[in-house]
Amino acid sequence: MIVSVINRLVVAAITLVGVGAIVFVLLRVVPGDPIAMMISPGASPADIAALRARYGLDADLATQFWMWLKALLSGDFGMSISLRRGVLSLLAERLPATLELAFAALALAVALGLFLAVLGTLARRTVCEPLIDALNGLALAVPDFVWALALVLAFGVFVPVLPLSGRINPSIDEGFVTHFYLIESLLRLKLTAFADVASHMAMPVIALGLPLAAVIVRLLKEALKEAMVQDYVLLARLKGMSELRLILQEALRNAIGPTLALTGVQFTFLIGGTVIVERIFSYPGIGNMAVDAVINRDLPLIQGLVLMFGLIFILVNLAVDALAAFFNPRLRHG
């Protein structure tokens, strides 16, 4: 157990350094100059050189990487060139917004996916089943950003009931101490603020969650169908269990393995999807910040963001493996 944990940690560290190195080199090889983006036209070559030196961009690639890595290990992610603030504090401010968005979308997808997969299994060989399959195919075929635009059109333009952009109405000031607005407002029972934050999140969460829900339904329903004809389900049915209980108690935990693995992978895609969806809804998360950072060639910020995405992917995979072992006793040993 301890050995496997240490193993995972070592692999995680190597992965992060690898991701860091690739991004570092890539950013400096592709055309685009952060200094050119920030100076006013007509600055003297001496001024440009001075700025370059100030951000450490005058040294050679290997030295720059070494300096960056050394600073990283002491917890210094560097300064954002375009925002002129520490990368770490920027991430700490923006990441909670994205985490709330991503996990709310995941919760929606899992709840909707489980519900429809179980319903589709209960309703097999009735008219309900092809209906669920058809809706599912539609949800599967449409990508998150198209859902986002459709939602904007539906609930922002035709029936304007949901706010179109931002995270919270600026006139609401609850003096938040964390950046987890949704959770904090709920815990402190600031229900007006909670409702406002939730209504801002509704459309991006649906846009991000629907395609993932569709993946879950498609996979889980197939797996349940297979599990429901196993001998142990037959025996349990003989004992007099209801169909719903057969699905939940007998079939689900054996059917969920592949769905879990794929949901983990898809969830990392979903976090990637926040980049575009946050942009569409001007939602102040790290995705939106990443777009600006790339446009401004803000090298330290891009590097910090990519490392952060890498770390999230690693954590998600760890969580998926832990959950898989929880559902499948055969994975628990060794």
């Binding site: 196993q230 001998d231 142990y232 389900v233 037959l234 025996l235 349990a236 049915r237 003989l238 004992k239 007099g240 269990m241 108690q249 007998e250 935990r253 054996n254 559902f327 499948n328 006793p329 055969r330």
Partner: protein
Amino acid sequence: MSPILTIERLSARVQSRDQEILSKVSLSLERGEVMGLVGESGAGKSTIGKALLGILPRDVVITGGAIRYDGRDLLALPARERRQLLGAEITLIPQDPQTALNPGRRIEAQLTDGLRMKRGLSGTQAHDKALALLEEVHIREPERVLAAYPHELSGGMRQRVLIAAAFALEPRLVIADEPTTALDVTVQKQILRLIRSMQEAHGTAVVFVTHDLGVVAQICDSVTLLYGGTVIEAGPTANMLVHPGHPYTRALIDACPRYDRPDAGLHPVPDGVISAMRRDLSQRYGRPV
């Protein structure tokens, strides 16, 4: 006493292929009796077992006849009463212990489902009863086995657990669906003895579905031999194995490999016997057999 089970002229057909798979099958089983239901693949032995348990595939419909259990016609019984009987008074020992236990649940949970749902036992009562059951099927360290998952047990152990589960609610009729087919030969013998001793101790009648006349000789009081969905011959085991009445029965007995005469070679059932029997059956039931 009246028989515990009588099947009267039971017929069934597969709808999609429009083919009759059981033709007027009749048999009768006394209380506490073990009856072998023997036949080749497709003879209809499993179909009868499934009909008894009410788990026929959707495609198979019963077209006539009756299944009388303890005086009540199972086929005419309201669904509610039927569910009460199945899994409690009539239970199943399944064929393959690898797939008949849920890989994701502990043995205790699976062994005590019926006790808790049908008998209303509390968790501790069910636990004690499960312990006693495991001891009865000769499982050492029953506490450890109760806490184990199926993959931690051998095939023979799993089949013992399934036998314990089948007898947990004191059934009066157990359907054993080729319960030794998936096991290796040394374990087979132990499992057969175990089913016999459980059956004797509880006074349970057993329908033993098998294709193996050797197994029949070891465990069954009587035999019903099937071919093509019809009864070829029925009677007490000793009688039938020593004085087979039908040429097909005789040929089947001759086809069994003999451990005491390894040089005797194998004798497949002669084609002539089968074609004569099929002609005969086709005439009698008015369908190709």
